[in-house]
Amino acid sequence: MAGSNLFTGTLDLLMLQAIKNGPKHGYGIGKWLAERTEGEVDPDEGALYSSLHRLERKRQIEGDWGETENGRRARFYSLTSKGRKTLGKEVTRWERHARAVFAVLRHEEQ
């Protein structure tokens, strides 16, 4: 629901993080994000699949058909080496960015 509030590009970063430790299908990624952010980030299907296929076009992830644990056919996405590099860079950038933002916010609180 909060997808529309996200900074542009942030969703892509979160998606990459979601499959950092192993391939997930689209539904799984959405669910993982929702659980991790306690529902704060729960992209609708349109945003989710646009993001996935956009990332695939940028060659940061690649999708392949496979089987889920309960025997359903689904498309699983995994990080490419390029995706892994992008993720690392983006995380660093985000950390710096967030530190800067917090520094300002905390200063105002005092």
Partner: protein
């Protein structure tokens, strides 16, 4: 490759893919909800609603999905291709010899062809330099009773010029030599175009400086003496200075004002042996103003003509209009124009009169070299077939493992493709390397502005040829062996012998060997003709003989006509010039003999005369055709031909004494068989009233002026000519280049207005005369060796494959006690049987060719035994060598191995 094409309709696939993915998402969500205890139907409803909320999921994601799918498919195609390529390269590595030979022979074929393309383009199709809009130019050829003429009668030209036709303009010109320069300055001979005023307009030659001729320039001789220089002459004589306009130039003793300089490279439209050096108005032609000027005569052909079409006109329209004009001329002047009409042909580098013949020659040359490439293709196809036989099991295994037939075929074609690309590239590079070192002049092609430059045109044609070649030699094995008979291939049938190594390759090798034999035979025959020419038959000693003529370039001698230079003729007592030239030249250090003559053996400038013995009028009215040369005392010492009988020509044989002649042995034998020729007299047939010539001396056989003729020779005294023309001939052991300056000094010390002589060894002149034979030897011999090389590769392949295919049979024979020698003999004899028919027909063709060429090549016999023996020996040796390797391999076959396996 197919998959790439299929990727075109990726859209439905991509959409379907995405739909499936979204469907899976829905199912997973339902599963989850059900797991949380929600009844399935309700869960399905919730999931669907949530999907709808995320409406447009499909629409937003679809474009990305399509791009991704397209890329996946393309990548798949490329991956397959890369894999195939890698496989191909691996097979190259596995048999490097086979591929090296294939690439090399293909490179030779493509290289030779692209060199020929370059040459033909440079000479034939490249535009004539300095002329614009050449497609609007028309050649007009007068035709009398079906015969083409080179020149027009000037009055005919005038009528056409003054008639309204589809021609925008028409111009006429005549060519002639003139001496440029004043007495005090360096003078030179130049080829002058005497032209009508529209000449530069018609040619589309925009002067690079000044102007062209105007109508008023051509009106009255001597009124407006103006000249236009060629770009070259402007650079050479006036250092390319713009101040040349308005300068005076002395031409044949008259001063002309330079009014223009022709565009760079423009030396006239024609591919002549000479290029024009400058242009004067036609009214300045030495013969233009005479009362009986040939330019006013309807029966004299005096000028060449070129026309330029109007923008909207066609060649056929021009021809129709011209024919009407000529029909009127025929009606008005029946006595001169009877049967004369005209044909109009689009302008080309080569004269319209000969164009069919020239085109035939070009097509012939192209055809010859394309045949070479065909041979190579046949060869490669044979080799590829042979290889495919040994690879049959590999291919069978691939097929059994599930490779599709199209995949196998693609693999085989790819091998051919890679081969042709590499071979073609090497060939083109070779041809560019070679052709950049050769100029048209080296090949005796004197087309103005012709150059051998690689062109895009050549590149495209060569690549197309490579591609066609790949198709030609790749397709057959690909079709045949992409469907190996699976079971027999896997059953290890190879080496069992059979039809497969056989007919096609055998015919191919036989054909090649025959072609090689034909070409080698021709080469050897030409060479024999050339060597006989150089040794005994020419009858003079070219080494040490030097000619100084008055030519300006081009492979012909040019002679000086002193009366043109204003010297008194001998009839007026003007022997001084001749005497003083001989005297001054004789004192040049190192010169042992000197003479003046109007010809030299093999100089290709012969004059002919029909003579008969005096006092036999009527008995032999046809007479004997002889070639005659006028010379001064000392001529025979210079050419090195001893007097066999009587005396040579003397200084005292002048106009005051009775005419004498020195004749060749063959002449004496023809006219007075069995009699003493000395003192005999002969006259010109039809020359009644002339004083007869008395024979005073006899020399041996000397070569005629042309290498292809064998005529009786007559030598007359130069001093007994009323209008002598001559070049200088002398004998010296010095280096000719060291004699250039002393000879010029000697000539100019007689009279500084004489043009500078061109000094060269007689060997050069002989080289010109024997150019045809020399090129024949080089072309046929070179081509023959190349084809023999290719043929030997083919034979090696055939014999090798035969041995491989007969492994089991040979093994059995050895097991039965056949000796090593017997096996080798059997294999080599088999090779001879293969090439035998080809050689037989090659030999017959060579004899037939020589029979046809006999009139052109002196001393060439169609059944020259040494030539046949040497060519046959060479070919048989090469065939034996080519088959020896495989034969020895066959002889070493271990019977047990052969029976157990291949």
């Amino acid at each position: 490759m197919k998959r790439i094409f299929r990727a075109r309709d990726f859209q439905p696939h991509a959409d379907q893919d995405l739909s499936e993915e979204l469907q899976a998402h829905l199912e997973l969500k339902v599963d989850d909800l059900v797991k949380q205890g929600i009844p399935e139907e309700e869960a399905r409803e919730v999931a669907r609603r949530s999907m709808e909320r995320g409406q447009g999921a499909h629409a937003t994601a679809a474009p990305h999905a399509r791009t991704n799918l397209r890329r996946r498919l393309l990548l798949g195609g490329v991956e397959d291709f890369v894999l195939d390529l890698r496989l191909t390269l691996r097979t190259f590595r596995k048999s490097p010899g086979f591929w090296a030979v294939s690439v090399l022979s293909l490179a030779v074929g493509i290289g030779v062809n692209s060199a020929v393309f370059t040459a033909i383009h440079g000479v034939w199709f490249a535009p004539v330099p300095g002329m614009v809009d050449q497609h609007r130019l028309v050649d007009m050829v007068p035709v009398t009773d079906g015969r083409d003429h080179w020149q027009w009668a000037f009055p005919d030209f005038e009528v056409v010029r003054d008639t309204e036709t589809p021609l925008m303009a028409i111009s006429a010109w005549a060519e002639g030599y003139a001496t440029i320069g004043e007495e005090t300055t360096r003078s030179e001979r130049a080829l002058v175009g005497y032209v009508t005023s529209d000449y530069f307009l018609v040619h589309g030659a925009q002067p690079s400086l000044g102007r062209g001729f105007s109508a008023s320039d051509d009106e009255i001789a001597g009124e407006n003496r103006v000249a236009i220089l060629s770009h070259r002459m402007w650079k050479d004589r006036f250092d390319g200075l713009p101040g040349v306009l308005g300068e005076f130039l002395v031409i044949d003793g008259n001063a002309y004002t330079v009014v223009g300089v022709a565009p760079e490279g423009f030396r006239g439209a024609r591919v002549n042996l000479w290029s024009l050096d400058l242009w004067l108005p036609l009214s300045e032609h030495p013969e233009a103003t005479n009362d009986g000027s040939p330019f006013h005569n309807r029966t004299e052909s005096t000028v060449q003509v070129l026309g330029r079409l109007r923008e909207d006109a066609t060649v056929s329209g021009a021809q129709a209009a011209l024919r009407t004009v000529f029909a009127n001329l025929e009606r008005d002047f029946p006595e001169s124009n009877e049967g004369r009409t005209v044909k109009a042909v689009r302008f080309g580098r080569f004269p319209a009169q000969n164009r069919d013949l020239d085109a035939f020659a070009v097509v012939g040359v192209c055809g010859l070299f394309t045949i070479l490439l065909l041979i190579i293709c046949g060869n490669l196809a044979g080799m590829a077939m042979a290889r495919a036989i040994t690879r049959e099991r590999e291919l069978g295994v691939r097929l059994a493992l599930g490779a599709s037939r199209s995949r196998l075929m693609r693999l085989l074609m790819l091998e051919a493709g890679v081969l042709s690309v590499v071979g073609g590239a090497v060939g083109v590079i070779l041809s560019v390397l070679v052709m950049s070192r050769v100029s048209p002049m080296d090949l005796n092609i004197t087309a103005p502005g012709a150059a051998f430059e690689p062109s895009g045109w050549m590149l495209v044609l060569s690549l197309a040829l490579s591609f066609v070649a790949a198709m030609a030699f790749g397709l057959l094995p690909a079709v045949r062996f992409s469907r190996p008979e699976l079971m027999s291939a896997l059953k290890d049938d190879s080496g069992a012998g059979g039809w497969r190594v056989g007919r096609f390759q055998r015919y191919a090798s036989s054909l090649q060997t025959g072609a090689a034999f034909l070409l080698l035979l021709l080469g050897v025959l030409f060479f024999r003709s050339l060597t006989t020419l150089n040794e005994e038959e020419i009858g003079f000693q070219p080494d040490g003989a030097i000619v100084a003529d008055f030519g300006t370039g081009g492979p012909f001698l040019s002679f000086l006509d002193p009366s043109e230079q204003g010297f008194p003729s001998p009839a007026e007592g003007g022997y001084t010039l001749v005497d003083r030239l001989i005297e001054n030249l004789g004192s040049v250090p190192g010169v042992s003999a000197v003479a003046l003559s109007n010809g030299f053996p093999l100089d290709r400038s012969g004059a002919y005369l029909s003579v008969r013995p005096s006092g036999q009028a009527g008995t032999d009215s046809v007479g004997v055709m002889v070639e005659w040369t006028r010379a001064t005392e000392g001529y025979f010492s210079v050419i090195g031909s001893p007097i066999l009988q009587g005396r040579g020509i003397l200084r005292s044989d002048d106009l005051d004494s009775s005419p004498i002649a020195v004749v060749s042995r063959s002449f004496a034998d023809r006219l007075w068989p069995g009699l003493d020729p000395l003192g005999q007299q002969f006259t010109q047939v039809g020359g009644d009233g002339q004083r007869p010539w008395t024979v005073v001396g006899v020399i041996g056989a000397t070569a005629a002026s042309r290498a292809t003729e064998d005529l009786p020779q007559v030598y007359l005294s130069l001093m007994q000519s009323t209008r002598p023309v001559f070049a200088i001939v002398l004998r010296s052991e010095s280096d000719p280049s060291a004699l250039v300056a002393p000879i010029r000094e000697a000539v100019w010390s007689v009279d500084p207005s004489l043009p500078a002589p061109r000094v060269m060894p007689v060997r050069t002149v002989v080289g010109w005369a024997t150019q045809t034979q020399t090129s024949g030897v080089q072309l046929a011999g070179g081509l023959g060796l190349i084809v023999l090389l290719l043929a030997s590769i083919g034979i090696y392949g055939v014999v090798g494959q035969t041995v491989a295919a007969r492994t089991r049979e040979i093994g059995v024979r050895i097991a039965m006690g056949a000796s090593c020698g017997a096996v080798v003999r059997g294999v080599v004899l088999d090779a001879y049987r293969t090439v035998g028919p080809g050689m037989f027909f090659g030999g017959i063709l060579a004899a037939a060719t020589v029979g046809v060429l006999r009139s052109t090549f002196l001393g060439l016999s169609p059944v020259d035994v040494p030539s046949f023996v040497s060519a046959t020996g060479l070919v048989l040796t090469v065939v034996a060598l080519a088959s020896l390797g495989p034969a020895l391999k066959g002889a070493r076959i271990m019977p047990m191995d052969a029976l157990r396996n291949e």
